[in-house]
Symmetry: C2
Subunit: 569 residues, 2 copies
């Protein structure tokens, strides 16, 4: 592709609206443009990168025997009413009426549509297993769309659905998709990790997320290098590594703690470590029942765990005015002693002697609180996020923590959808049984963002070879080399995808643009070519340069490509 | 692909809901399934065929230098308000609010979005010409979705938009797209015709439709075999071939015509040809002004022409109760004489002596009416559809008429969108000028329907090789040949897309399914292979059979493929 015939509107400055690096660089590099909040145009170079990812996904799904279909974006309410999600799904499900006043929604996911299709068309166990998938736009009316493609409202997703006759079949399909996902992200040239995950709104019992590793990731992963255990910290059982000292219990003592509210402030004021302070948080369950959660000051509540403890009832944090009314003290001075509501104590408080709690009276705390004595909680449970110092729930070795971006999520659904939708088949024994289902998603457009988050430097994007929109940026720095450049362009085009900067621009502008859009190799015709007949090859990833004669150009490129693909550089 | 691992739910019976052959066969063949009115799932074989068409479209668009992008399906109202189409576009524009109560619509077309993109990103004539395109789902909330993919609400479209600095540039882009479309439909293996067309809701001055020729087409094409003129009959100027005889004018005579209402009934009753009878139709313009149109009984009103005559004001046919109130007679007895409203007479009535008109009194007509004497119309204009007997408006030779299905439509938009949206660039002379635009659509999913309408027989679909979901259906009729069949399957797969019917089914079932889904060649292992080592090849298109030894199988297939591609068979 010639730059003079391409549409690549790069920008010099970051856009004020872009908060994270991938959003900034995809805008600056001319990959995407905003149409409305969370809604984007993919420009030619962005579309090319997207297609690369899509093609890798498609190739591996096909290889796994999954069959590609296409389902509509506009879905009738009737199907969603059957599963109860018409009511249960939040406002992310964009609902509307057509001209005949029938209810429809924009598909955020397609369990209902696919289950309806399969229940009508598949009759017998002989037709199973069946895995169907599509790569298509989806719409989720996010309350706060942001970060560009990372949390967009309209986005491209690969969603697959498996149908099996029994649990054993589901296990096989799930394992097949797990391995397929590993191949997909490997083939994209990404560093990633599969982790055990929370099933959320899709449901089912077991799920794994595929995380692209990046410091800027929103998710925290708990990883055990000893046994290979890995989970999203939302799900990780918190097992304290610390052994509490057998310190004798001291008598409870009320102390004056004026104006110190946060656990850290209290700790500093009292001259104690933060771990010795507890915090008490008040939640309102189903808009009526207050519940208190007590945990160490250096720990954090895990709301996914709390949701399970609360039997999946809706809950939220209490507002300050509600707390004042309920307890008569401000947040910061709350404690479990004498609290007239259900109290959940985090497991890490078990056997922990002499900790600090709020006195439920402004400006006061108690020293030397002890679980079971100072207060008796209604429940002692694991309600916190695992954190450094905690142990692997599988093998007991210390856990590592790292950040990731969720790009894929696979679920064992079981009969969650098939039983309510009466999607059944005739099994070997002649009995009607509900399909055992799984579902498997990849945020295709999100992979593009995650790629950039993982692979960039101060000059721009650094695409892995596998999903780079072009492999080679051909840059000629001298008008007198025009003819030579044309020849090399034609030569390279037969083996590589080449973006040829044939503009009348200063070298600085050309290099800046090519660095920004992240093409793996820059083939440069400049001084060294004119003087010594040597073509310069710059490797975007590490800035290293190689020089080669024209007749060895392709050989040299092949060598560098190999190094890149096998990550030796 | 093995049938036992494929998802191809064929049906024995036509679905009651399917009115036209393509809808019937695409349902029966397991290509599509309905999700809601005008909304479909593409099943694996349907998706494959769709992809074939999409890939041909993409290859030719890329070859023309058009750049692929992807725009969202959900579009903000603001852009549509700028062009006035938020108000002007009918209910086919599905409008809705998001969770923040902002107005959006589902894109039925993308002129607004693309013009907004280009006005923000393209500054200079140096960046022109620019042709951008996408292949993506669209939504039009049709009042009466029907005929399966032919008039669906959600469908796949290729839409392209050209931006030029001047009219000359537009002419070039338009010509380029015209030729690209010719190549696309040729490469799809379809018989088609480009015709001059009505610009409709998209607007602009010049447009051409690309019509797949099929007896079942909804559109009528007027074609001149002498000079090559071709137009949609909506647009064809009607030039009467008939020369009226210089018959002396006779005196007007009121006759009793009890109970005869249609032109044909009146003609039969009076013993005159239908052409001698006129009909008078009453339209209501903008819900207030009645307008009468008078034309020959054997001619039909062309509402596209009428719309132009009425300066594009909204109009509809009057209801019977309105006619009774306005005129005091029932439809069937109406005539232009003494009518207290604007009367438009069709041009074909000029110089036509002694025709019959209704008397505006139930059960009565007049004989021997004459234009200019019996009544003086407010306007004499070409308001009818051209029909057999009419002459070519370009060369005067008699026109031929044929039926077609619109699959593509290209428009010269000029500055229709760019001027209202203030989409300008800096021209060579340093002046701001609006982009000169064109737009170019192909109904990708509709092409699939049109292909079936054009290519089928009583047994099912007959796909052109180029867009067939599979090239070869491999059918083994004997379990003892299983190993042989497997070998041939592997052999053929390296060159062709093969659907291998490896099911335990009766031969009849296998042949029926493969005929139905329209795969061009059936490679059959049966009696002749067992007895003489000869593989049978059946050509789906004509039912002819060839026999070949295994070692010449591919050679034979190649020969037949050539014959098919060059339409020698």
């Amino acid at each position: 592709m010639r730059m003079t015939r391409y549409f690549l509107p790069t920008l010099r400055e970051d856009q004020a609206s872009a908060e994270i690096i991938s959003h900034k660089l995809l805008l600056r590099g001319g990959f995407i443009r905003k149409v409305a909040s969370g809604i984007y145009n993919f420009l030619p170079i962005g579309f090319r990168a997207l297609k690369k990812i899509e093609n890798i996904v498609r190739a591996e799904m096909d290889r796994a025997g999954a069959l590609e279909i296409l389902m509509p974006m506009v879905q009738p309410a009737e199907l969603w009413m059957e599963t109860g999600r018409w009511q249960a799904y939040g406002k992310e499900l964009l609902r509307f009426k057509d001209r005949k006043e029938h209810d429809f929604c924009l598909g955020p996911t397609h369990e209902e549509v696919i289950t309806d299709l399969v229940r009508k068309e598949v009759r017998s166990y002989r037709d199973l297993p069946l895995i169907l998938y599509q790569i298509a736009p989806k719409f989720r009316d996010e309350i706060r769309p942001r970060f560009g493609l990372m949390r967009a409202r309209e986005f491209i997703m690969k969603d697959a659905y498996s149908f099996d006759a029994d649990e054993e079949g589901l296990e096989k399909s799930y394992q097949l998709m797990y391995e397929t996902y590993e191949r997909i992200f490997k083939n994209c040239g990404l560093k990633f990790r599969a982790v055990e995950a929370h099933t959320g709104a899709i449901g089912g019992d077991v799920s794994h997320e595929f995380m692209v590793l990046a410091e800027t990731g929103e998710d925290t992963l708990a990883i055990c290098s000893a046994c290979g255990y890995a989970s999203n910290v939302e799900l990780t059982p918190a097992i304290l590594g610390e052994k509490y000292q057998g310190e004798p219990k001291k008598p409870l003592e009320k102390v004056y703690t004026p104006g110190v509210r946060s656990a850290k402030d209290v700790a500093d004021y009292l001259g104690l470590p933060v771990s010795k302070i507890t915090k008490t948080l008040i939640y309102i369950v189903e808009e009526k029942e207050p519940v208190a959660v007590v945990l160490r000051g250096d720990h954090e509540v895990n709301e996914v765990k709390l949701e399970k403890i609360l039997s999946f009832r809706a809950f939220r944090m209490a507002r300050e005015d509600e707390i004042l009314k309920l307890i008569g003290a401000h947040p910061g001075f709350l404690g479990p002693k004498g609290l007239k509501m259900k109290v959940i104590a985090d497991k890490a408080l078990e056997g922990y002697p002499n900790f600090v709690i709020g006195a439920n009276e402004d400006e006061y705390h108690y020293l030397n609180a002890n679980l079971g004595e100072t207060f008796v909680p209604d429940l002692i449970a694991d309600v916190r996020k695992a954190c450094p110092g905690d142990l692997c729930p599988r093998c007991g070795a210390p856990l590592d923590f790292t950040k990731g971006i969720e790009v894929g999520h696979i679920f064992k659904l079981g009969t969650k959808y098939s039983s309510v939708m009466k999607a059944t088949f005739l099994d070997k024994d002649g009995k009607e049984k509900p399909f055992i289902m799984g579902c498997y998603g990849i945020g295709v457009s999100r992979v593009l963002s995650a790629t950039v988050e993982q692979n960039h430097d101060e000059n721009g994007i650094i695409f892995p070879w596998q999903i780079a929109p072009f492999h080679i940026a051909l840059i000629s720095l001298d008008k007198t080399l025009k003819e030579e450049a044309e020849k090399i362009y034609h030569k390279l085009q037969s083996h590589y995808e080449v973006l040829f900067d044939d503009r009348d621009e200063r070298p600085g502008v050309k290099f800046k643009d090519m660095d920004l859009v992240g093409i793996p190799l820059q083939v440069i015709l400049g001084k060294s070519y004119k003087e010594k007949g040597e073509i310069e090859i710059k490797i975007r990833k590490n800035g290293k340069r190689a020089y080669t004669k024209l007749d060895q150009l392709e050989e040299t490129i092949e060598k560098i490509k190999e190094e890149l693909l096998f990550e030796r550089i």
